[in-house]
């Protein structure tokens, strides 16, 4: 029950006072006056006055009070001798008072409701404008004040179109209002500060009791911002679509939600996805098979050799365009299952024509919608890259072989000589043996000694041949466990003659800490021979000190073995690391490939090579090699699936 606003409480007190006074007067008149009329009917005035001043309770009290007063007056005047007419007059009065009371109560309710509804108009953010038939503004709510910038005071009485510069389809609107009594749509208006805005608006036709249109009630909301946001979003989507379609690499959108469901149905909870999937490769494949292609771009069509999108859309992401490697599938699903949003893997596909393409696949889960429902798959064709890499490795191997042969060529003279020595000895001993035995008394011990020398020299020759053969061998590098001392001593033997000819003393110094190295014997010896030959060369001009070439064998950090070749020559001019660059040479007839190939060999074996100048004279070039066999596959170089 609402009370009237505070500022009218003075007024209401006045009214109550008036009501009370009038009630007394009427009572007095009713009681004392000899008039035959129904004076008590005048109590209506009292009730009406009270209704203006107070709420329902007071009105009812006033009504009741007036009835009582009438009864009292009647009782006093006519109780002894009740006259019919007097009773009739009393009844009429009571009925009138009741009627007035009830009507006042209804009126009060209606006014309360109206007041509340008016407040709702004020509460809403939406703007409400009420106009008459001439478009003159009658009502302008707080929302309108805020939106348009005109106060109620300024707006009421103005013509709406003039004030707000409305733009709307006038004919459509009139037709709708006349036909249906309402219209909704968009219109443009101008604010007080001159800015234009777009509004969504609902108009209701106001009618008078005869049904005539007398104006419009409208409610509008500003959708300028929303329209701008919508336009931007549309532009953004178009941009996405353009990029998607124009990208130079294959992209396809896919839905992996079935994959996810299947996975979580099949996989026991608490399992580690990767381990479990790797143990169940057929499930991993089945999982990925459930991922469905939603859209593909032009580049994807070209990559797969498909004629149009329809050939690919709807298929599984690993349908006819087979993915070969299953461990990759397990890894992809496991990564997604552990909430990675990006997975990268190298994957081999087959095109529609059946030719294989190597791709680097990047999978990205977008956060929109149900989990894994929008997955972008992007593929970069790296077949050429892999092919080039394979070619490069092949070329490298061939070049290394060529250099080995060329080194062999350089050593040819030494090798020939080395074979010649034992051959000479064999012939000599053979002839000697014949002579010893041919004496009158055959000298058997001497002959036996000759034969033994023949055998040992024969073995010596055979060793040289074996070394030469292994140097010339063109094979794929193999890793095996080797005795480092043996490897080095054989390498030294290969250059022994050269060293002697150049008056260079060669020796091996080992601290006995390394008993095993892992690598390819031929290649390691190639590196060693390369370094030794370089060392010998570097001491060509040394006259004032001994020409020493020392090979040091020891342990390095990380469990590696270190083999260093130290000379007492002239050292390296400039930056020591530069000698490993291809085509670096200080020799007029040098190719300059030896050291750069040595570097590649060492690095392929899993070691490092470096050069430095010694404190006193000359330089040291040292390389490291692994000592423990971690598995033969470690040292070979297949095309790897990258992580």
């Amino acid at each position: 029950m609402n009370q009237p606003a505070p500022q009218t409480s003075d007024r209401s007190r006045l009214l109550l006072l008036a009501a009370g006074t009038v009630a007394l007067i009427i009572f007095a008149a009713d009681l004392l006056s000899p008039l035959q009329g129904a004076v008590a009917v005048l109590y209506i005035i009292v009730v009406l006055l009270v209704a203006q001043a107070r709420g329902r309770a007071a009105v009812m009290a006033a009504g009741a009070g007036c009835i009582i007063l009438s009864l009292i007056a009647f009782a006093v005047g006519h109780l002894g001798a009740p006259v019919d007419s007097a009773i009739i007059r009393l009844s009429v009065s009571i009925v009138a008072i009741l009627a007035a009371t009830l009507l006042s109560l209804r009126d009060h309710s209606a006014r309360t409701t109206l007041a509340e509804q008016a407040r709702i108009l004020e509460l809403g953010h939406d703007t409400v404008i009420i106009r008459d038939a001439n478009d003159v503004i009658l009502y302008w709510n707080e929302g309108a004040e805020r939106l348009y910038g005109w106060t109620r005071h300024e707006a009421v009485g103005q013509r709406c179109n003039d004030l707000l510069g409305c733009e709307f389809p006038a004919e459509t609107v009139s037709a709708a209002l006349e036909g249906h009594g309402h219209w909704s749509g968009e219109l443009l208006r101008t604010r007080r500060d001159g800015s234009r805005m777009v509004l969504t608006s609902r108009w209701l036709l106001r009618r008078d009791p005869n049904g005539q249109g007398i104006g419009v009630i409208e409610s509008s909301a500003d959708i300028t911002e929303q329209m701008r946001a919508d336009a931007e979003r549309l532009a953004s989507e178009q941009r996405y679509a353009t990029i998607f379609n124009a990208a130079g690499f294959a992209i396809w959108e896919s839905d992996w939600s079935a994959t996810r469901r299947f996975l979580f149905e099949e996989m026991p909870p608490e399992s580690d996805p990767l381990t479990w999937l790797e143990a169940h490769p057929h499930i991993a494949r089945a999982c990925v098979n459930k991922a469905v292609i939603g859209d593909v771009n032009q580049a994807a069509l070209e990559m797969f050799g498909a004629a149009n999108k329809a050939e690919l859309i709807g298929r599984s992401v690993i349908a006819d365009y087979t993915v070969e490697t299953e461990p990759v599938l397990a890894r992809i699903v496991a990564a997604l299952a552990t909430d990675s949003d990006t997975v990268e893997a190298e994957v081999r596909y087959l095109t529609a024509a059946g030719s294989p393409i190597d791709t680097v696949l990047r999978i990205r889960v977008l956060p929109e919608g149900a989990p894994w429902s929008r997955v972008l798959m992007m593929a970069l064709d790296v077949t050429e890259r892999n092919q080039a890499r394979a070619n490069l490795e092949k070329t490298s191997a061939e070049l290394a072989h060529a250099v080995r042969i060329s080194t062999l060529g350089q050593l040819a003279a030494s090798i020939a000589h080395e074979v010649n020595q034992p051959l000479t000895a064999i012939i000599n001993y053979g002839k000697s043996g014949i002579r010893w035995l041919g004496r009158d008394i055959p000298n058997t011990p001497e002959a036996t000694a000759c034969l033994q020398h023949i055998v040992s020299n024969g073995s010596r020759a055979a060793d040289v041949i074996a070394r030469v053969r292994s140097m010339a061998r063109k094979g794929t590098p193999e890793a095996e466990s080797l005795d480092p001392v043996e490897v080095i001593e054989e390498g030294l033997a290969l250059v022994a003659r050269e060293a002697r000819a150049a008056n260079v003393g060669i020796s091996l110094a080992s601290d006995d800490s390394v008993t095993e190295i892992v690598g390819d014997k031929v290649q390691i010896q190639q590196v060693l021979v390369n370094l030794l030959m370089n060392g010998i060369q570097s001491m060509r001009t040394v006259e004032d000190r001994p020409r020493d070439l020392i090979v040091k064998l020891g342990a390095a950090a990380d469990g590696l073995a270190r083999i260093g070749v130290t000379d007492s020559g002239t050292g390296i001019a400039g930056e020591p690391a530069s000698i490993f660059e291809p085509f670096f040479t200080t020799k007029a007839d040098g190719m300059g490939m030896g050291l750069s190939i040595s570097k590649s060999i060492v690095e392929a074996q899993g070691g490092r090579i470096e050069a430095s100048n010694n404190a006193e004279h000359g330089a040291t070039i040292a390389f490291t090699l692994p000592t423990r066999s971690v598995g033969p596959s470690e040292l070979s170089r297949p095309i790897e699936t990258s992580v």
């Binding site: 000589h417 010649n420 020595q421 000895a425 012939i427 000599n428 002839k431 002579r435 020398h453 002697r500």
Partner: protein, 124 residues
């Protein structure tokens, strides 16, 4: 020819020295071996040498230099040059320096013995 002519063998390769020594002993000669020209020059006794067989390519002083040195010191014995790399220039130079023979390795032992016997009987 002397009863046991003394042949000096100068070669840096031990197997060559040893096998030649064995060979020449088997025909009754005495042999002394030296690992380098320098060692030979230090240790040889002028009167105790009937022939020198030397390798051409050796680290340090090579065979030709040895020959020159011996010429300078004055020698009264023949010098035989042997080598695994018989180049024309080396051959010419050896002959110019007065080598009695220029042999190619691997040496034919019979031929060597023939030549030695020939030289020693001609010689002093």
């Amino acid at each position: 020819m002397k009863e046991s002519p003394i042949i000096c063998i100068v070669d840096d390769d031990i197997d060559v020295r040893a096998s030649l020594e064995n060979l020449l002993r088997s025909v009754g000669m005495s042999v002394r071996t030296f690992g380098s020209a320098e060692i030979f020059l230090e240790e040889y006794n002028q009167s105790g040498v009937d022939c020198v067989i030397t390798d051409l390519h050796m680290p340090g002083m090579d065979g030709l230099a040895l020959q020159e040195q011996l010429n300078t010191l004055g020698r009264d014995f023949p010098v035989i040059m042997m080598t695994a790399f018989p180049t024309k220039s080396a051959h010419e130079q050896a002959l110019r320096l007065g080598a009695a023979a220029f042999l190619e390795k691997p040496i034919d032992p019979d031929r060597l013995i023939e030549q030695l016997e020939g030289m020693l009987s001609d010689g002093t």
